[in-house]
Amino acid sequence: MRGLAELAAKAGSRDDENAVLGLDLSQAEQFYQQMVLIRYAEERLLDLFSTGALNGTTHTSIGQEANAVGVINALDRSLDTVWSHHRCHGHFIAYSGQVASLFAEVMGRTLGVCRGRGGSQHLCYRNFYSNGIQGGIAPLAVGSALGDRAKGAVTVVFIGDGTTGEGALYESLNMAAVWNVPVLFVLEDNGIAQTTPKELTLAGALDRRAEPFGIRSFAYDGADVMDIHALASDAVRYVRHESRPAWLYIRTERIGPHSKGDDTRSPERIAAARARDPLPILRSRVANAADIESRCMAIVDSAVSLAQQAPIARG
């Protein structure tokens, strides 16, 4: 077994991070690389679960990668803060490029980003935080945005359509608006919460949820990461320069199951979700897609092997 310091250095040095995120590539290549990396990493997680190599649960964002990549690349990673939830791997990878320490975290290894304490939905890395209580992160995002307002920083908080059922969200919208807090609420509406279609539980329009609070709304229906990035950049610029909250609504599709094998949707419904896969949309516009894909596969392979070599966390 290799020394932990060496593993950690491999998993998390600044240079690696830039390369993993493709920060020196053209924008289309960079976004494609990040989306493919998220996709491959999450498919691998599901594989590892199905072979019994992983414990607990995991929620993948397969189909929603363009949201994570489009929004997070509109931020200043060294200044801004991101809050995410149970479905956080995509947001996390787009923010951090820390693939090995994500795998290690989900595997409960000491190399994990929280040394194996948090697991899949409780990640923390620099200014990135996730937690598994729906809606609970919304006031935290208001607080972190308020706390860093004088630095010119922005906080982004991701929520799903189902989470609009939580009261904490509305308390947060109110405080964000009344106190001029630079926080961007990003609603990824995949139309379903676990097994429950939104029509069964949610009244009113989700794209305009924040408008009665005097919060400016941005809305998009589609899976083109370039469009999402452009819109998110507008929203982030507004939040930062006006020091006002904003609401970014993205109509999206969850291609994978809620967590591991629990998909109660009809085959037709899943096929409709697949038809809005963001990866092929961008692939056709990237010249060296195959190179990027093999690079991502290599990153995931090496991340899994690094994680597997790390000791199991137990106290």
Binding site: R117, I133, G136, G143, A145, E171
Partner: protein
């Protein structure tokens, strides 16, 4: 000086000495200064660091958690202790868990201050003593102030922690004068030790006076740190005394009495306890007085304890 002034001046000092201390709460702005006046003068002196908030207890504790993670040191006032239930998720699932589950990459120096308790006629939703529900949460410290010694110093201790604290102020105490620790009955070889916290400390002190008239020597041990529970401190305070009574205002069960008994188990001590009623607190002053621990009630409990209870 009264308890409210001791707390108020500690709060203002904390804000003066540390620019990172911020205050959030409902109706905390001057000239009102909070429903019980503990925050009086804060917004006049530090307008940028005091937020009067919407009626969103969960939301404001959440905002405070976010501020705490970013290096601020928030103190939140929850207007009545009964409303802390609305912030329970933020305390238990967020503030308390972050440091551990994020492998100490963050600290959450949050203080939630709140008045608890009855005897003011506010009725079932404004009179409870809910602190036991916050005791036993890993990572959260729970304090209960009383008037002997320095209430403000206890608040400073809570505010100095880098992890969340819940700070309980029994609401009858605000108007009480601060008294010296030496005023607590502390005979050298007591017949009984009375363990109490918050608003029940003065009840125990009054009971000790009644007992002295019957030539029963009672030591009153006020507990200010409810969690983590100071077991060793309690064993030392009980010393060789074989009779111990615990007094609390909250509903009986899974509370202070059980924790005191655990600290004394196998020490050959006869133990009894008094608590509030096993139902909500009524508004009627007379009925409240019947239900909540009283000097006479404590007196009678000590008499029967000395009359032959079993050792735990």
């Amino acid at each position: 000086m009264r308890v409210v002034e001791s707390l108020n001046s500690a709060l203002l000092d904390l804000m003066t000495c540390d620019q990172r201390v911020v205050l959030l709460g409902e109706d905390v702005l001057d000239p009102y200064g909070g429903a019980f006046k503990v925050t009086k003068g804060a917004s006049d002196r530090f307008p940028d660091r005091v937020w009067t908030t919407p009626i969103s207890e969960g939301g404001i504790v959440g905002v405070a958690n976010g501020l705490a993670i970013k290096g601020w040191r928030p103190i939140v006032e929850i207007m009545f202790g009964d409303f802390t239930t609305l912030a329970f998720d933020q305390i238990l699932n967020h503030a308390a868990k972050f440091a551990w589950m994020y492998d100490d990459q963050v600290t959450v120096p949050l203080v939630v201050r709140t008045p608890m308790g009855g005897r003011r006629g506010y009725g079932p939703t404004h009179s409870q003593s809910l602190e036991k529900h916050f005791c036993g949460i890993p990572g959260v410290a729970v304090y209960a102030v009383h008037q002997y010694g320095s209430p403000g110093t206890l608040l400073r201790e809570a505010a100095a922690r880098d992890q969340p604290s819940v700070f309980i102020e029994n609401k009858v105490l605000y108007a009480r004068p601060v008294e010296a620790v030496e005023a607590l009955p502390n005979p050298p070889s007591p017949d009984v030790v009375i363990l109490a916290y918050g608003g029940c400390v003065e009840v125990a002190v009054a009971a000790a006076k009644l007992l002295r008239e019957e030539e029963i020597a009672a030591r009153v041990v006020p507990v200010t740190r409810l969690w983590p529970f100071p077991e060793e401190e309690i064993r030392l305070a009980v010393g060789p005394c074989r009779h111990v009574l615990s007094v609390e205002e909250g509903a009986p069960g899974w509370g202070f009495a059980a924790q005191c008994a655990l600290a004394l188990v196998n020490k050959g001590v006869s133990f009894a306890h008094i608590a509030g009623p096993d139902h909500p607190i009524p508004s009627s002053a007379a009925w409240e007085a019947d239900l909540l621990p009283s000097p006479q009630g404590v007196f009678r409990a000590v008499e029967s304890l000395l009359g032959g209870a079993q050792a735990i």
